[in-house]
Amino acid sequence: MAIRQVLEIPHTVLSTPTKPVAKISDFESNLAQDLIDTMRASPGCVGLAANQIGIPLRAFALDVSGHKKTTECHGLIVLFNPEIQTKQGLETIREGCMSVPHFTADIPRAFEISLTGLTHEERPIEITTRGFEARAVLHEIDHLNGLVFLDRVTNPSNLFSRKVYLASPDR
C-alpha cells in the first residue's frame, strides 16, 4: 500500500496508549500492509507499531527472520489487539528504535513470552516465543501502551547517546 513516515519522540501519539480495534475492516487491512511496507523499507527494522506511523490503534507488524540475534522465529507476524499472557526469565540487551533514533540503551526484558491476538483475518491466535523475537514483541507492545525503551532504562549508566566518539589522536 504505502511506506509511511515513522514518527519520532517526543510525538504525543507515541506516548499515548493505543485503542483496540473493534473489527478488521479495509482500514485495518490497509494499516497492516502499511506497517509491513514501512518495516520492509526501513533498514534494520524488525518491527513496527501502528502508533509509530501515526495510527493510534493496537496493531503491530514484526519479522525477525534473518536477524543475527534471532534464535526462534515465526516469520512475518501481524497482530491486532495483542496481549501478553505469560512472561518468564530475564535478559538484558542493547536496544534501539526508529522512533528514538538519538539513543540506545541496555534494557532488561522477559526472555520467554506467550501472547494472544487477532490475525488480519480476525482469527484468534496464540504465539509462544523466546529470545530476540520475544524482546521485539515486548518492544512493540510497549509502543502500543504509549511507552518507548527510554521508559524502561533501569540504570543511568545504561543510557547511551548515538554519538560519534573522537578518533584516536596520534601521541
Binding site: E8, I9, P10, S15, L90, V100, P101, H102, F103, L147, V148, L150, D151, R152, V153, T154, N155, P156, S157, N158, L159, F160, S161, R162, K163, Y165, L166, S168, P169, R171
Partner: protein, 191 residues
C-alpha cells in the same frame, strides 16, 4: 591512610586513565571508588583514593601537575572526610535507620523536547519528597527533527513517602514541562 578526592576534566583522548593511574600506582595510592564519563566530548573523572599516611591530597595534585600540562587537563585533589559514611554502613555500627525505613530504590526516567529547567523541576519535586538522588545521567541528542533530552535517575525513596503521591507530583511536573516521566521501584529479582 589518607583519603582524597581527585577530579579530572579536559579534552578527551585515549590514554588519560592509564596515565593518571600510573602516577597513582607509583605513589602507592589505592583507588577506592571512581567514575568516568565523556560529557559532550570532554573527559571527566572523579576518584576517591587512599594514600599512605605521609602522602596528602596536595602531594597527589603536585605529582599530577606534569601530566595535567601535557594533556591539557584540570586536575584537582582535595582531602576527603572519611567520617561521612553511607547510611547502610553507619547503621551497622551505630544502630541507625533499618533497611525498612530507608525505603526503596527507584528509577525515574524523563525525556522530551529539550528545554531549560528539566533537571531542576524533576530534582526539586524529588527533594520536596525527601527523595535522595543516588545517580543521575542526562543526555542531549539532536534527532532528525529536534533536540531530545533524556534523563535517568536512580534514587532512594524513603519508606515514609506515599508512592502514589510521588507519582502524582511527578505527573504534574511532566505536564508542566510537556515531557514524559516514568517512575517505578526497582524490581528485585532474586534468582
Amino acid at each position: 591512610m589518607n583519603l582524597s578526592c581527585i577530579t579530572i576534566i579536559g579534552p578527551d583522548r585515549p590514554g588519560i586513565v592509564a596515565s593518571v593511574t600510573e602516577v597513582l600506582a607509583l605513589t602507592s595510592c589505592s583507588i577506592e571508588d571512581s567514575e568516568m564519563a565523556i560529557l559532550h566530548g570532554h573527559f571527566a573523572m572523579m576518584l576517591v583514593v587512599s594514600s599512605p599516611k605521609d602522602i596528602y591530597a596536595q602531594d597527589l595534585e603536585l605529582s599530577l601537575t606534569e601530566l595535567s600540562s601535557e594533556l591539557g587537563l584540570t586536575i584537582v585533589a582535595r582531602p576527603l572526610d572519611d567520617s561521612v559514611l553511607a547510611p547502610a554502613s553507619s547503621s551497622e555500627i551505630t544502630g541507625g535507620p533499618a533497611d525498612s525505613q530507608l525505603g526503596k530504590e527507584w528509577y525515574i526516567n524523563a525525556y522530551g523536547q529539550d528545554r531549560v529547567g528539566i533537571v531542576h523541576a524533576v530534582s526539586t519535586c524529588l527533594a520536596e519528597h525527601s527523595v535522595n538522588i543516588l545517580n543521575l545521567r542526562t543526555q542531549l541528542s539532536s534527532g532528525s527533527t529536534q533536540a531530545v533530552y533524556a534523563m535517568v535517575i536512580h534514587a532512594q525513596v524513603p519508606a515514609a513517602v506515599d508512592e502514589s503521591e510521588l507519582q502524582d507530583a511527578l505527573s504534574i511536573v511532566a505536564g508542566k514541562l510537556n515531557i514524559q516521566i516514568s517512575a517505578s521501584p526497582v524490581e528485585d529479582s532474586t534468582l
